[in-house]
Each structure stands twice: as C-alpha cells, then as structure tokens.
Symmetry: C2
Subunit: 723 residues, 2 copies
Amino acid sequence: MPRQIPVLAAKLRALGFTGDPASFADLTGQPMGAIVSLGGCTASFVSPDGLIVTNHHCVTGSLQFNSTPDRNLLRDGYFAPALADELPNGPGSRVFVTTSAVEVTPDITAGLDAAATDRQRYDTIDRRVKARVAACERDGSRCTVAAFFEGRQYFEIKQLEIKDVRLVYAPAEGIGVFGGETDNWRWPRHTGDWSYLRAYVGNDGKTAAYDKNNVPYRPKRWLKVAAGGVKPNDLVFVVGYPGRTQRHQTYAEVKETVEWALPRSIRLAEEQLALIDTLTKQNPAVAVKLAARVQGLNNGLTNSRGVLEGMMQGGALAKKQAREQELVAWISATPARQQKYGKALAALQAIQSQGEATRERNAVLNLLPSASSYLGSAQTLYRLSVERPKPDIARDPGFQERDWPRIREAQDRLQRTLDPASDRALLRWALGKAAALPAGQRIEPLDRAVGLGAAMDKAAAESAVDRYVAGLYAGTKLADRDTRMTGLERSTAELAATGDTFIALAAALEPLAEANREAAKNRAGAYARIRPVYMDAMLDKAGGLLAPDANSTLRVTYGQVKGVDTRDGLFYKPQTTLQGIMEKHTGNGDFDAPQKELDAIKALREGKTTPFFDRGVNDVPVNFLSTVDTTGGNSGSPTLNAKGELVGLLFDGTYESVSSDYLFDSVKTRSIHVDSRYILWTMAEVDGAKRLLNEMGVSLTAPAAAKAPAKTAVPAKAPAAAR
Amino acid sequence: MPRQIPVLAAKLRALGFTGDPASFADLTGQPMGAIVSLGGCTASFVSPDGLIVTNHHCVTGSLQFNSTPDRNLLRDGYFAPALADELPNGPGSRVFVTTSAVEVTPDITAGLDAAATDRQRYDTIDRRVKARVAACERDGSRCTVAAFFEGRQYFEIKQLEIKDVRLVYAPAEGIGVFGGETDNWRWPRHTGDWSYLRAYVGNDGKTAAYDKNNVPYRPKRWLKVAAGGVKPNDLVFVVGYPGRTQRHQTYAEVKETVEWALPRSIRLAEEQLALIDTLTKQNPAVAVKLAARVQGLNNGLTNSRGVLEGMMQGGALAKKQAREQELVAWISATPARQQKYGKALAALQAIQSQGEATRERNAVLNLLPSASSYLGSAQTLYRLSVERPKPDIARDPGFQERDWPRIREAQDRLQRTLDPASDRALLRWALGKAAALPAGQRIEPLDRAVGLGAAMDKAAAESAVDRYVAGLYAGTKLADRDTRMTGLERSTAELAATGDTFIALAAALEPLAEANREAAKNRAGAYARIRPVYMDAMLDKAGGLLAPDANSTLRVTYGQVKGVDTRDGLFYKPQTTLQGIMEKHTGNGDFDAPQKELDAIKALREGKTTPFFDRGVNDVPVNFLSTVDTTGGNSGSPTLNAKGELVGLLFDGTYESVSSDYLFDSVKTRSIHVDSRYILWTMAEVDGAKRLLNEMGVSLTAPAAAKAPAKTAVPAKAPAAAR
C-alpha cells in the first residue's frame, strides 16, 4: 500500500532511490497523482493537457468502436494529427483519478455485536459501506469502501470520474499486438503494447459526458519521460491498480482452486475455443464479433495452465501447505495464541466445505449467462426490475442507482459483440453441461423448463436441449438494442408480460440464484468474523511485514530490471531489442511487423541516429523484465525509475510468474514492460507522432554522451552507430 | 582432417592445449587409435579389455534385438553383471578401427585423358578405386577410397573390422531417451544418451564372427576418463566419423535443396507420420515394428525444418549467394584466375540442370522402395542377380562380393520391422505420388503395370492402385525370411520364374532405374572433371584454409564449452544439471525419469556425497553445449579435454545449428554433449555399474578439493553440499 512505502526507505535507498519515500503515501502528490484507473487497466497522465498513456490491449474496445468497414483501426492503428481528430472512446469509457484514501475501519466494524448472526453481521457491514459510499459520492465523485487484509481494515477511496475519454494514438496491430497469442505471457517478448488517450472535461473544468466542445483536462500531476531509459539492475517502481490476488487464502482454499476450479476452467475454455473455432470457420465474419471473447478465453487458459503448473510442478502448493503448517505450529506454541487464533483455520474450512456439495451446480448456473449474452442480458433486466422498487441502500451491490448508467452502457455496447448463431451454439453447449450434472446437484428449474433429468441418456438430453434452444431463440427480441434499453425501465410484471423466452428463463432461474446469493451473504458474514482473526495471526507471526492482497486499489511495487534463470540451462535476458523483431517477423499471423517499421529498422542499421539507442544492448531496446510484483489490473501501469520518471509501461508477466497470485515466488517471478525508448522511437521514426512527443517534452536530440562509438561492434546487427 | 591439426598448433595452445598437436595426425596413436566407427555412429575404447562407449541412440537396434515379450530392454535398459552376461549385438553389428589413411590421389587421378568422355573418366576412376580397395582388403581389413575436397584428393582408409560386438550396459529409456522427440535437437537438454558395448575376437586375437568362446579384444589405445569434467570456456575436442556436409556445394545446388528438396521431404515426412499414426492407432502392436521408422522420420523432419528456417529466416541462403558472388568477382579479377577457374561454375550449373527435368519422377522412383520394404527387398534380390554374373571389379558399388555379407544381414534383420499391413498402406500412399506425377515425368513401366496415366482422374487412379496393390501382396512370398535368403542366391531367370509379384515389379522398374544409374555415372564423370577446379578456386581464394566436407571418415573438431545468445532476449546456458530432470519429470511420456534415479537425486539433495558433483553449477552436471563442428555420424563421438581425456559424448546439435551442414555459422552453432560426470554418477548411484567403473579406472573417492563448502548456497536446490 502506498502508505507502507515510507517504512521501506532504507531498502529503497540501498537500491539507489534518492527521492522522498513519503511522496508515495501522498495520493495527490508526485508521482501518485498522475496515476489513474481506466476501470480494469491502469494509465497515467503524461502531459499538462490530460494526455494519458496506457497499454494497447487496454484500448481494444475503443479501436473496435471507432472502426468502420473502410477503416480498420484494430489492424492499422490510429494517430490523431490534431486535437480535433481525437476520437470519442465509446460508451462506458472512464478515467478515474484517485483523490483520497481514508481509513474507515471503525466506521464499518465498530460495535459489531459479537452475538449477532453471520447474516446480521453481513447486513450491518453492507449498510454501513453503502451509507459511506453514498455520502462520499454526494460531490459527484466515485467512491468505494475497500476491504484490506481480509476485512481487517477498510479504506474509503474517492475518485474523480472523467467521462469524456478520447483515443489519441495507437500503433498498428503489427506493433501493438506483435507476437499475439503465441507470445502472450512469454519471454522473449517484442510487443509495442502502448496507446494514448486524452481526458476531456467541460469548459468549467468539471467532469462531463462526451461533448465536442469539451476541453482537455488539466491534471495537477503528470509524469515526465526519463531521458535515459533503464539498464539491468536499475531500481524501478510500478504504480497501478492490481485487481485480485489470493495470497492470504488458506491451503484448503488454494487446493480447491488447484484441484477443482483450474482443471475445470481449463477444460471449459478449451471446449469453448474449439466450438468457436468451428463457428468462425463456418462464418469468418463472426470472428470479429467473437475476437474479444477468444482473446479472453485464450488469455485465461494460458494463465490457468501457468498457475496449475506453478502450483503442481513448481511445488508452490506444497510450499503453501508447509507455510500453513508453520503457522499452525506457531499458534499452538503458546496458550495466548491458541486462545486468540486457535479456532480460525478450522472455522474457515467449515465455511468452505459448505459450498462443496453444490459447487458443480452453481458453477454451471454461472456458466449459462457467460455463454449466452441473451441470457446475461435477460438476467440483468430481470434483476434490475426486482431491485429497482427497493430503497437504494437495500439494493444489492451492482444494482444501486449509482450503477445504472454503467448497466445501460453495457447493454448498449453489447450490440457490437452479439451474434445469434454463435450465442445459440454456446448456450447449447452450456446446457449440455447442465444436462450432465449429477443427481443431487441438478438445476431443477432448468430441468423443468428444458425437460431434462439426471437419469436421461445423452441423446435424449441433447434432443431436449435442441428443441428448447430452438424455442428460446425464436421467442426473444433481446437481440434488438431498443428492446434491451426499454427493458431496463420495466417492472418485473411488465417484463413477464412481454412473453420473451429469455426473460422467462431468467425468471425461472431467479429463485435458485437468489437462494445462492443469500447463502453467499451468510458466508460473507461468517468470513467477516473469522478471516480478520486468521489475518491477525499471519501478521502477528510476520511482525506486521505483509502486504494485503490486491483489491483493485492504488498500489506501489518496486524491484529491479533483471533477467531470470527461468529453467535449468535457460536464461531470460533482461532486455529485448529491435533485432528480435527482425528475427521473429514472418510477414503474417502473429509476427507481421508493419513495413514502415521494418523500413525504420533498416534506416537505423544503415546509420540513422536516434536518441533512443541503447549502448548496452547496441540497439533500440523493446521490452524488459523486472522483479516487480504485478497482476491483472496493473496493465498499462507506468514503470518509474529512481527519480519517479517514466521508463516504460507494465503490460504482462511471464508464464512462470502467474502462480505468484497464490504464492509469491521472488526467485522466478518477472513482470514484462515495454521500454519507453521503443515507444518514443516508434512515435518518432514509424508513426510520425511528433505532436505528442513535443507535448510530452521529449527531446529528439541525442544526448552528447551517445556520440561516442558503440563499445562493442556487433557486425550481425550492422553499424547502427549512435550519433 | 586429422593431418591438418598440427598447423593449428598456435590456435590450440592459445585455448589451453598442452599436448602435441601431431598426435592427432597419427591415426593409431593416442587418442586417435581409441576412436572407432560403428558404421553410422562413432564410439571409443575406454578400457584395455575392449570396452566401448557410444550413444544410447546408437544401440537401439541391439536393445530391440535382445528384447523379448518378458524383457523390454528398450524400456528398462540393460546391465550385464559379468562378462558372461554381455549380449550379442545382433546381425550386422560391427566395430571398425581405422588403422591407416594413405593419400592415393595419383593412383586414382594420374594420367586421366583430358579428352576422355565423362563416362570414360567415371569408369577409369571407378576401376582404379575398386582395384585399390581389393588389394587393400586382401589381409582381411575393410577398406575404402574416399574422395576429399570434391575429388581433389583421394585417401585410402584401412580399417580393422570387428564382427563380434556385445551389449554391456544401456540405461533405461527414462534416462537414455529422456526428453524424447520433444527435446530432440533442443536445448536445455537432459538426455543420458550413452551405452556401453564390448568388442570380442577369436582366441587368436583375430576378428571373428560371434562365438561364445570369443574373448575381449585388447585395443592398442583406449581413452582415460577425466577426473574433473569440464567448465565453461574449456577447450574440447570431438573425434569421430561425421557423415556428410554440403558446404562446398554451389549456391544453385543449395537453392534447389532449400526451394525444392527440403519442402518436399518435409511434406512427405508429415504425410507418412500421419499415415503411420493412423495405422498404429488401429493396431498398437505395430508401433514397435515402426518405432525406428517413426523416430527416423521425426528426426529428419525436425532437421529439415531447422535447415529451412536457418537458410531462409536465418539468412544463410543469402549469405551463401553473397559468398559465391565474392568468389566469382575474385575469379574475374585476374586473367590467370579466369583462365583456370572461369568456366567451372557455369559447367556445374549445366550438369545440375540436366537433372531438373525428371527430378519429380526420380524422387518418386526412389520413394517407392523406401516406403515398401517388400519392394526394397525385391529390388535388392533382382539387382544382385544382375550383378552377380559380372566380374567382381565390374559390379556396381554395393553389390561386390565384399558387400554380400552385409546384404544378407540386412535381409535377415528385415524380419524385425516387416509388417504387411503398414507396408501395404505406405506403398499405396507412395503409388498415389506416382499416379499424381505430371505428364513428361511419368514412371512409364509403373503406369503400364498399375494401369495409370497422366490424364486419369484421382478416383480412377486410386481404384487402379488399390486393385494393383491387392494383387501385389497376394502374390508375394517375400515376407518369408527363407524366401528372401534363398532369393539372394538365385539367377535373374530363376527369380522371374518364381512368379513373385514384387520381383515382377522390381524387374519392370529395373530398366528405368538402370538408365538413371547410367546418367548418374555420366554426371559423376563430369563432376570429377569440374568440381576439383571449383574447389581449387575456393582453396586458392582462402589460402588453403578450408576443411573438406564430411565424408564418413575420421575427423577432428575443436571448440569451447559455451552457451549461446540463441535469440534476442534468450541465452542458452552452457550446462544443465540434475535439477532440470526434476523440473521436467512428469512421470509419463517423454519425461519419465526412473524412480531409482529420482531416489538417487533425493539422496544427493539430502547430503549424499559424490565425486561427480560440480561446484560451478552446484549440482551433478548433465549435458553441455560446445562450439565444436559436428553432424550426423558424429553421434557417440568422445568429447576430449585439453589433455585428450574423456569428458563427455557428443550426441546432438541445437535446432539453430542444423543449417550449418550447408553454411557453417560460427556464432549460433552449438553441439550437445552428455557430461561424463552424469554418466559416471548414474553408473555409480543409479545403475550399479561399478564393475565397469573399476574397469575404466574411475575412482569413486571424491577429490580433496570437493570437501570445501559449496561457493554459492542455492536454497531451492536443497543442501547437496559436496563433502
């Protein structure tokens, strides 16, 4: 947590840090004030005029939104020659600037009745959180009350929400996604994973919806681009919004993930990808609509496999067990500890085991709307109609008035990815999973609706599913945008009266879904009681030196630029260069660098000078590895040097790192960054983005030191002498 | 060439060589006298009692030959507890000890009539070579007259041929083939690719066929195992029998290989592997019979792909062209050179282009017997019946009296791999290739026999092939061993009279095959005239500093133990260790280390000491990389240190090296060796082969220096402190 950085001052100084560690604790200071969230990705201001840099893979939706049949921005990239050419980023695009983080633990947990039921405890916390959020948002800010250390602490995070975000520049796919799925989570890497956005506000400087007369937002803080880049062993910081880690789960919880959840999600992802592959082969036009889903499935699949490998072959699961056994032994060692912590672990396991009896059923219940956007949409409309009549504070999270604009935007955006034939094929597949559930874990309302039963043979079940699915898609109008948007305003009775088949399915499933949510609330109340005790034990044993799990709030991590002995006999060098782009380029598929980039590399080889040449690697550096600790949500995070200047963007981790979400492995874990010098070189030499370089204050004159001849002549790489 | 080593004395001394470089020129001295050929693999004597060490993959046939339904030596390995338990290696197994290499260039090329036709030139050389060989073999030796520098020089190589070879020790498949096809040609590598044989002779010390009363051969020279192993940058030598390289081919020849031959052989290998995969899925028992074929196809496929990648993406083809252009410019630079060399290149291209018009036809003609062992056998029988009546000196190479025992052994051995159903499926596939040949390149006798034509549609051709193939396999007795063996004695008329369908096919194809051989002899005569001129030009330009292409004769290469920057961002470390076996072990498929090895590693981690521990890598080293220049045929070659002591066995090259057969890349090329310390550790700690360690004079007492604590503690690897 930013507030924990000052205690690390001595360590940071040993690594070359010269600034004031306390600056990291000031969320509105330099550099923290420059770091923003895009909701799922991180980004940072890099000019006084609201210019924002983030990853390319964080603006895929915007590139898709702004593409037309004649103009494929996903493939070709985009550069706005002038402010007026900057494109609206599409519905739901937001920039969140964190303005404060205040501890509110007493407000949330004080005076909780020890004798209260778990459900009462849940409800009390839920109401208190909602009340704080409502009060905090009264000035138009976006607020959350986030739990840290498993509910041991709560912080109220307040954010300025900028609603007019525009696309300024993204390189072509052959740079921004170079390596594609083949290289995803891999090293060596040569991906130009950057893009630029700009925050706009009303003429009054206040946040406002998109309007062509809006003006660039003028942030209080922005990052300066470092002149020199990084070299091996340099200290680097990454500041961003990591999403979720599970390092403080119990061994039993991680074991369930490893033995049940991950193999299951790998199997389901493989099946879906195979199905989608067949669908898009039959109809190539559908590929564009399913592109994001395929990317997500592939990304998750590789991640799941990596976690599984790390936990099993890498031995992390056994290490997790050993650590828990140490904790148990430590607790048993004194009566005082036994008194305080002795029952927590068994209690956590008891809660966990409650879920196991119906986990197959509930997993399929959740799979259905993720397979079919029609069903997902119907469930959203139906839930909203149920929640709307309640007082706002009693509405479930995600369905409060503050969430409605986002719900509307999502139903609007859905049009871009909706494809009836593939939706139907995927739902049919998911219903097959429901048909195969064991007795005792059946989704009974679905059995009744479809005409399924546990004892049914496969062929009979399949034909029942086929009949049912045919009726479903014949009887729905949810593919129509206006039907969905007006549906968001309707009451439960009005929705039922439409006779829409998907609404009817959502209504049929709702009682079971509601029962599951109720059970989850009870469990959450129990966890709110026990997890902080378990966490107290771990903190107590560790002398307080533990970071809380990631929870989508602003965090700082530091480390060094460093390669890794990834496997016996194999070393990942810390940096890659343009040379590797030439090695990998095949002219098609995942390795298709644009001709203008190849030309620019050729010009460099023939002696053209650039200030972004690195004498250490004798080339323009492209990507680098560091030991910082990151996870999903950190994408787009700025990488800062010891002076707090921008030296790159975090965009990925190595395959060997992904199990660190469960148990951090400080030896093997490496994050992957795009080097700022590759960004700047491409802007200057390939994409003609000098307007932005000027705005960022980047000098295109090489520093005097680079005039000396390169230390090592590498003939294979041609002259490329820095001037 | 061994005789070229003394001129490299200064270079070798700079790398740490302390011996007498002239020793490499003495083929019967130390160490050269200890190096032997197995015919396709290299090996070396390692004891005064004829103990031989080579690769595991060089004794696959012997392990297969000695396996029974109850005793799977391929899977389990074999260790003979005593001399009496050493197993006969199977028919055709030989050890060749080179006893002399004498230059005979004048005997072969003197007084050749410049006005002679190419065919006359071929015949003259052919007769002279055969006469020398016959004279040389009069004392029972095996002799060859080998061309060096494209026929610029000839050497007579004389070898002692040992015919009683026995299997002494091979580790289990989980060690000897650890990594399997997955790791083949790859790094990092952890393959225990060694095995031990022993040469036996009659009581009189003379070579003799297998007899249980034979006694171990006592070689004049044998290698001593180095006590200390190797470390990075150490000088190493590899001595062996590299098979064939094409570095002195013209650009046009290499281009034809890259653009026509390699893509074709890749396609054919992929098709055959897919077909065999289907066949073995239908009938798993066949897998054993086809195992060697599958291994060969896979190995060749990966090699071909690697060469193609190296030539195209790696740019070796362009470099080859540039070098030839330099040569052409160098020749054009003076009238004297033009006079001497000016016409050679164009003449070589003219010869090459003669073959192009019928290359598709001839490639299919050669494919047929390689697809069908029945046809291969029929062609051997038929050819032998045609050649036998001729005087020995007029018989074609391979069919002279000296070749007959080998022909008999091959027809005997064939029984192990013959499977009618898969032979039929593969011949059917190959006939499909013949059916698809373009007009003008048809195999006319085949068209007549099968009833095919260029204009025929695919379905009609397929049913004609099916009909024909059904008749072929119904009308042959060649699957019967005795039929083949007696067939080797029959005259052409007697063979025809058997009415065997495959003999009839062989007879039908023979006139075209004979015409092709005649054309080849004419081309060989022309090449014998021109290639030496082209080679003279290259040697002249290089000031004589060129090695001749590999030609299966005894060679020496030297280099250093060294990792490699294999691709941008990736470094292959020079050594691997036991740690990597633990990392890769999955317990099945290609990564299934034996339990007794896992136990031995565990014991080491728990503190058991071994003299084979390496302080530099803090573990027992397993494989290492070096810069030596090797190719197929070098398999099993001893790796020697600067003192000429055994430090490992060469067994593979990296994928990035294979295009070095066409153009040597001194930056990327690396050979892969198994470290002698892994061999010795396994013999001592896993396979209980102390009998052999004693025989080799290996001490199991750790040297005093190893008593010091390890320099670097690597906690992930557990204590493993050397004592």
